[in-house]
C-alpha cells in the first residue's frame, strides 16, 4: 500500500469518469491490455495482429486500423508515458464526440497506443443503460456511427467516396472467394446509388455525387438502431481474482 498502488487507482477512477466504464471493467481491460502488450505500456499493431482468433476476420485490418487511427485521439504522442491530461470538460458520452470534432484535421496513424486510447476505442462499444434519456441515446448513436464512419473513411476527408466504399465491400467479401470479387463492385455501386438517391433525390444528369457525408451516413443507417446493436458485453467481474465485498463504482 502506498503511492505505487494509489496512482493507478487514481488513474483508473479518472478514466472511469471519463469513458463511462465501471472501475471493475477498467481493471479487467487493463489486465487484457497488459496481456496483449507483454506487460509494456503501449501496444503496437503487431501485438493486435498476433491474436489468433482475429485471423479469420475478413475486416481484421480495418479493426486494427481503427485503434491506431490518429484522428480519433487527442494525443498519440503522450501514449508512451506520463499522465495524460485532457483539458476539456468531462461529460459522459459526449466527451468523445467533442474530441473527435476538435482533431478531425489530423490524419495518419500512430504506431503505438497507450491504455487510454485503447480504452477510448473500447468505450464506443458500451451498451445503452436503462436510465438514458432520448437525447443521450441519440448522442450515443451518433458517436457510434461516427466511429463506423471513420473506419470507412480511410483518408479522413469527411466523405466516403465510391472507391473507399468499394474497398469496404471488397474486404467484407474477401473470405468468400471469387464470387465475392465479382459482385463486390456491383454491390458497392448499387449501395452508393441508394445513398445518393435517398439523400439527394433530384440530381441533374451532370451533377456529381462526391461521396457519403456523415449526415447522409446517419440517414441511411437510421433504421438499424445503432445504440442497441453496436455493443459488446464487458466483463463486470474479474474472474481471475474474485473479490467478494465492497463495490467500487
Amino acid at each position: 500500500m502506498g503511492a505505487s498502488q494509489t496512482r493507478p487507482e487514481h488513474r483508473h477512477q479518472d478514466l472511469a469518469d471519463r469513458t463511462g466504464f465501471s472501475l471493475e471493467q477498467i481493471k479487467n481491460l487493463h489486465k487484457r491490455f497488459q496481456q496483449l502488450s507483454g506487460d509494456e505500456d503501449t501496444i503496437s499493431k503487431e501485438n493486435l495482429e498476433s491474436i489468433p482468433t482475429l485471423a479469420n476476420n475478413p475486416i481484421r485490418k480495418q479493426i486494427i486500423g481503427a485503434f491506431f487511427d490518429k484522428s480519433a485521439f487527442a494525443e498519440c504522442l503522450l501514449a508512451a508515458g506520463g499522465a495524460p491530461h485532457f483539458p476539456y470538460r468531462h461529460q459522459r458520452g459526449f466527451i468523445l464526440f467533442g474530441l473527435r470534432n476538435q482533431h478531425r484535421g489530423e490524419a495518419g496513424s500512430c504506431d503505438q497506443i497507450g491504455f487510454e486510447q485503447f480504452l477510448m476505442v473500447m468505450s464506443h462499444f458500451r451498451p445503452p443503460t436503462l436510465k438514458m434519456t432520448a437525447e443521450e441515446k441519440e448522442a450515443m448513436r451518433r458517436e457510434k456511427l461516427r466511429f463506423l464512419f471513420n473506419m470507412h473513411d480511410t483518408d479522413n476527408d469527411g466523405t466516403i467516396t465510391l472507391v473507399e466504399y468499394r474497398k469496404v465491400v471488397e474486404e467484407l467479401l474477401s473470405k468468400s472467394g471469387s464470387i465475392g470479387q465479382e459482385a463486390a463492385e456491383a454491390i458497392a455501386d448499387a449501395a452508393m446509388l441508394e445513398v445518393a438517391s435517398t439523400n439527394v433525390p433530384t440530381m441533374g444528369p451532370d451533377d456529381f455525387y462526391e461521396g457519403i457525408t456523415f449526415e447522409h451516413f446517419e440517414q441511411i443507417l437510421k433504421g438499424l438502431e445503432m445504440e442497441s446493436r453496436m455493443h459488446i458485453r464487458f466483463l463486470d467481474v474479474d474472474t481471475t481474482t474474485m473479490r467478494c465485498g465492497k463495490s467500487t463504482s
Binding site: S176, A191, I220, M230
Partner: protein, 771 residues
C-alpha cells in the same frame, strides 16, 4: 347516405354468415341422422330388405341409384368441417368492420358455439372433435411446422436466454403458485363442506400445470393481427413454443403420481432429469430429421416435383418420433424446421419453395380455424360442472400469477440483458399470455376414474380460455395503440443496412477477440464458419447455393427491382425507393484514371437528350397500349386472357429494349452471374401475394427472365422481337401496329404459347421457354 350503405353492407354480411351457419347445420343434421347407429340409412335398409326378400335368388330390379352414406361418412364429415372452416374465413372478410374490432379467433369460437348448438338441438351426438388423436396428431403439427419453418432465427437466438427463462421458470412458477393457492382456497371453506374439499394437492397441481402454459395457437392468432415489434413477438411466441417441454413433464409427473398420492424428493429429481431429456431429446430428434431432410434435398434435382413432400414428411416423422418417446413433439418440430430450412432452400427449385410456403400457410390456416371452431363446439358439448368458487379463483389466480411471474422474472433477466425490457414490454408480455386449445385437449385426456373432478376442471379450463381469448384478445389491440408500443417495422431492408449489419457482425466479433473474452458474437461467428466449411458442403448441392449472404441479398434485390420495373409499365426508375433522377453516372467519378479500361469511360449525354428519349419511349408505350386495345376488340379472337397477355408482352418487350438502351448509356454493371443461383430464381418469382398488389392491367403470373442475359429464355424473347422491334422504331409516330393473323404468324404462335400456361408449356426452368 354513406352510413346507410355501410349499414346495408354489414346487414348483408351478417345475413350471409347466418345462412352459411344454417347451411352447415342443416347439412350435418340429416347426415348425422343418417350416420347414427340406431337409425339405418333409408337406402341401406331398402337394399337389405330387397336382398332379404330375394334370398332365393329371384331376380330383383338393378339399383340404378342408391344412397350409401355409411360408406363414406368419415371423410365426408371431415371434408365438411374443413369446408365450413374455410367458408367462415371467407365470410369474415365480407364484414371488414367486424374483423377489425374482434379478432378472428373470437369469431371462430362463436361460430363453433353456434354449430355445436345446432347439432345439439338436432339431438345428435357432437363428434368428439378435440379428442387427443385428431388434435395432437392432425391439427397441431401444421401450425407448429409453419411457425418453426419460418421462425426468425436471429432474434430468436439473440433472446434465447430470456425466452427460456420465461418458458421454463415462468411456467413452473405459474403451475406451483396456481396449484398451491387453489388447493389452499379449496380447503378453507369452513362452514359448508363442498366437493372441493375432496380435491387433493396433486390433482390441483396437475390442473394448474395444464392451465399455466401459454398456448402457441392462440398467441399466433392474436398477435398476428396487432403487428407489434419483433422483440415482443418473439418473446411471447418463443415462450409459448418452448414451454411445451415443461408442460409435458409436469403433466406426466402429476398424472402418474396422482394415483399414488404423494411425490417424493426422488420423484422431483427424476422430474428435473426428465425435463432435460424431454427438451433436449426433442430438439435432437428434430435436428436429426432436419439434417436428413437437408441431405435428401441435395439429390432431388431430377425429381423436383416431390421436393416439398420431403419437407413435410420428414417434419411430421420428427414430430411422431418425438411423441413416440414422450419427448416434446413441438420442440422437435421447431428444431426440424429451423435446421433444415437454410439448406433445403438452397437446394430446391423456386417452385418447390413456393409450394412449401403456400402449403404450410394453407394447412396452418385451416388448422387454426378448425381448432377454434372445435373449441366452440366442444364447449357446447362437453360435460360441464360449474363451480363458482373454483372457476373464478382459477381465472383470478392465472392472471395474478402471470403478472407477478413476468415482473419478477424481468427483474432478474434485466440484470443480464443488454437491451433491457421496459415496463411497457413487461405489460405486453404478461397480457399476451393467452391460453388455448392445448390446455383443453390435455384436460380432455384426463381419465374420469382417476380424476373425479374432471368435468369441473374442463369447465374451468374453458372459462380461462374464453376469458383470455375474448377479453385479452379483444383488448390487446387498443391497448397496444394506447400505450404506443413500438410496432413492427414494415420498411424494406436496404442494401446499405445489409452491408452494415454484416460489417457490424464482424466488427463486434473482432472487438470481442481483442477484449479477450468469448462472447455471443464469437460463438456465433464460429458456428457460421463451421457451417460454411463443413456443413454446407455436405448438405448443399452445388457451389452456387453457397454464396455469401450479402451477395444473395443483392441478387434478390436486383431481381425484385427488375420485376417491379416491368410491372410498373414503363419509365426507367433507378433502383431506389424514392422516385429520383439519380442514376449511375451521378456517382461515377468524372475523370476516370488513365489505367481504367475503355468501358468505364462514360459517354456524356447532352443535357436533355436522356429525358427526351424517355418521354418518347414512354408515350410510345401508351399509344401502343391504346392501339392494341382497339385492335384486340376487332381483329383477334375475343379471349380476355389472351388480350391481356399480348398487351402485356408488347409492353414488356418495349421496356426491355428501353432498359437495355439506358443501361448501355449509363453503363450500369450487372454482375456477370454464372448459372442462376436459387436466390436469383426465387427472387424472380417475386414476393408473396400479400406484399404484391397487381396493377389492374398486368397479369401477375408471367415469369420473364430479365437481368440474366445468359439464360436462354430472355435471349429467345429478345430475338423474337428484335426483328420486329427495329421496324417499329422507325414507325415511332404511328406506334405499334398489329398485323392481322396471316402475316405475323410467328408472333401469333408466341402469343398462343404464352396464353396456355398448362403444365406442358410452363415447365422446369431447365427447358427453353419457347419450343
Amino acid at each position: 347516405r354513406h352510413g346507410h350503405a355501410g349499414a346495408r353492407r354489414v346487414c348483408r354480411g351478417l345475413l350471409l354468415l347466418l345462412v352459411l351457419v344454417l347451411l352447415e347445420g342443416s347439412v350435418v343434421f340429416p347426415l348425422g341422422a343418417a350416420s347414427s347407429p340406431d337409425v339405418d340409412p333409408r337406402g341401406h335398409s331398402e337394399d337389405r330388405a330387397v336382398a332379404e326378400e330375394s334370398q332365393n335368388y329371384s331376380k330383383k330390379a338393378f339399383p340404378v341409384l342408391s344412397l350409401d352414406y355409411h360408406h363414406i361418412h368419415v371423410p365426408f364429415e371431415i371434408a365438411l368441417w374443413v369446408l365450413l372452416a374455410s367458408l367462415m374465413k371467407l365470410g369474415f372478410h365480407l364484414i371488414p368492420r367486424l374483423s377489425s374490432i374482434v379478432p378472428e379467433s373470437c369469431l371462430l369460437i362463436v361460430v363453433g358455439l353456434l354449430v355445436g348448438g345446432f347439432i345439439k338441438l338436432a339431438g345428435e351426438k357432437v363428434p368428439p372433435v378435440l379428442d387427443s388423436q385428431s388434435f395432437f396428431l392432425c391439427l397441431l403439427p401444421p401450425i407448429i411446422l409453419d411457425a418453426g419453418y419460418f421462425l426468425p432465427i436471429r432474434p430468436f437466438m439473440e433472446n434465447l436466454g430470456t425466452i427460456l427463462m420465461f418458458a421454463v421458470v415462468g411456467t413452473l412458477w405459474n403451475a406451483f403458485f396456481v396449484g398451491g393457492l387453489l388447493y389452499a382456497v379449496c380447503q378453507i371453506q369452513p362452514g359448508n363442506p363442498s366437493d372441493l374439499h375432496n380435491l387433493e394437492l396433486l390433482p390441483c397441481l396437475l390442473f394448474a400445470s395444464i392451465i399455466s402454459a401459454v398456448d402457441p395457437v392462440a398467441v399466433l392468432a392474436v398477435f398476428e393481427e396487432i403487428h407489434i415489434n419483433e422483440l415482443l413477438h418473439i418473446l411471447v411466441f418463443g415462450e409459448s413454443l418452448l414451454n411445451d417441454a415443461v408442460t409435458v413433464v409436469l403433466y406426466h409427473l402429476f398424472e402418474e403420481y396422482s394415483g399414488a398420492g404423494t411425490v417424493t424428493i426422488l420423484d422431483g429429481v427424476l422430474g428435473v432429469i426428465s425435463f432435460l431429456v424431454v427438451a433436449l431429446g426433442g430438439v435432437l430428434v428434430g435436428a436429426i430429421y432436419g439434417f436428413l431432410a437437408a441431405f435428401t434435398s441435395r439429390f432431388t434435382s431430377h425429381v423436383r416435383v416431390i421436393e416439398p413432400l420431403f419437407v413435410f414428411v420428414y417434419s411430421y416423422m420428427a414430430y411422431l418420433s418425438a411423441e413416440m418417446f414422450h419427448l416434446s413433439g413441438i420442440m422437435a418440430l421447431i428444431a426440424c424446421g429451423a435446421v433444415m430450412r437454410p439448406y433445403v432452400e438452397a437446394n430446391i427449385s423456386h417452385k418447390s419453395h413456393t409450394t412449401i410456403k403456400y402449403f404450410l400457410k394453407m394447412w396452418s390456416s385451416v388448422s387454426e380455424t378448425l381448432i377454434f371452431i372445435f373449441l366452440g363446439v366442444a364447449t357446447v358439448d362437453g360435460p360441464h360442472s360449474w363451480n363458482w368458487t373454483f372457476v373464478t379463483v382459477t381465472v383470478l389466480l392465472c392472471l395474478v400469477s402471470r403478472v407477478i411471474g413476468v415482473i419478477g422474472l424481468t427483474f432478474v433477466i434485466n440484470k443480464f440483458r443488454i437491451v433491457k425490457l421496459t415496463t411497457k414490454d413487461q405489460f405486453i408480455v404478461a397480457y399476451g399470455g393467452l391460453r388455448g386449445a392445448i390446455a383443453f385437449s390435455l384436460g380432455f385426456l384426463l381419465e374420469e376414474k382417476h380424476f373425479p373432478m374432471r368435468d369441473m376442471f374442463l369447465t374451468a379450463i374453458i372459462t380461462v380460455i374464453f376469458f383470455t381469448v375474448f377479453v385479452q384478445g379483444m383488448t390487446i389491440k387498443p391497448l397496444v395503440e394506447l400505450l404506443a408500443v413500438k410496432k413492427k417495422q414494415e420498411a424494406k431492408r436496404t442494401i446499405n443496412e445489409e452491408i452494415h449489419t454484416q460489417f457490424l457482425d464482424h466488427l463486434l466479433t473482432g472487438i470481442e477477440d481483442i477484449c479477450g473474452h468469448y462472447g455471443h458474437h464469437h460463438w456465433k461467428d464460429k458456428l457460421n464458419r463451421i457451417n460454411k466449411k463443413y456443413v454446407k458442403k455436405c448438405l448443399i448441392a452445388d457451389e452456387r447455393g453457397r454464396e455469401p449472404q450479402l451477395i444473395a441479398f443483392y441478387h434478390k434485390m436486383e431481381m425484385k427491382q427488375a420485376i417491379e420495373l416491368v410491372e410498373s409499365g414503363g419509365g426507367f426508375k433507378p433502383p431506389s425507393a424514392l422516385p429520383s433522377t439519380v442514376s449511375m453516372q451521378n456517382i461515377q467519378p468524372k475523370k476516370p484514371a488513365a489505367a481504367k479500361p475503355v468501358q468505364r469511360a462514360l459517354p456524356q449525354l447532352p443535357k436533355g437528350r436522356e429525358e427526351e428519349i424517355r418521354t418518347i419511349l414512354r408515350s410510345n408505350l401508351q399509344r401502343t397500349r391504346q392501339r392494341l386495345r382497339s385492335y384486340n376488340r376487332h381483329t383477334l379472337v375475343a379471349d380476355p386472357y389472351e388480350e391481356g397477355f399480348s398487351d402485356f408482352i408488347i409492353k414488356k418487350q418495349k421496356i426491355i429494349e428501353l432498359e437495355k438502351k439506358i443501361i448501355h448509356m449509363n453503363n450500369l454493371t450487372l454482375p456477370a452471374a454464372p448459372p442462376d443461383s436459387p436466390t436469383l430464381c426465387r427472387a424472380r418469382l417475386a414476393s408473396d401475394p400479400q406484399a404484391y398488389r397487381p396493377k389492374r392491367d398486368s397479369v401477375p403470373t408471367i415469369q420473364v427472365d430479365l437481368a440474366s442475359p445468359q439464360s436462354p429464355d430472355s435471349v429467345n424473347l429478345m430475338d423474337e422481337f428484335r426483328a420486329n422491334g427495329s421496324r417499329r422504331e422507325e414507325e415511332e409516330d404511328q406506334g405499334l401496329t398489329m398485323r392481322p393473323r396471316g402475316e405475323d404468324g410467328r408472333r401469333e404462335q408466341l402469343t398462343r404459347c404464352l396464353s396456355d400456361p398448362g403444365p406442358s408449356a410452363d415447365e422446369d426452368e431447365d427447358e427453353p421457354f419457347l419450343p
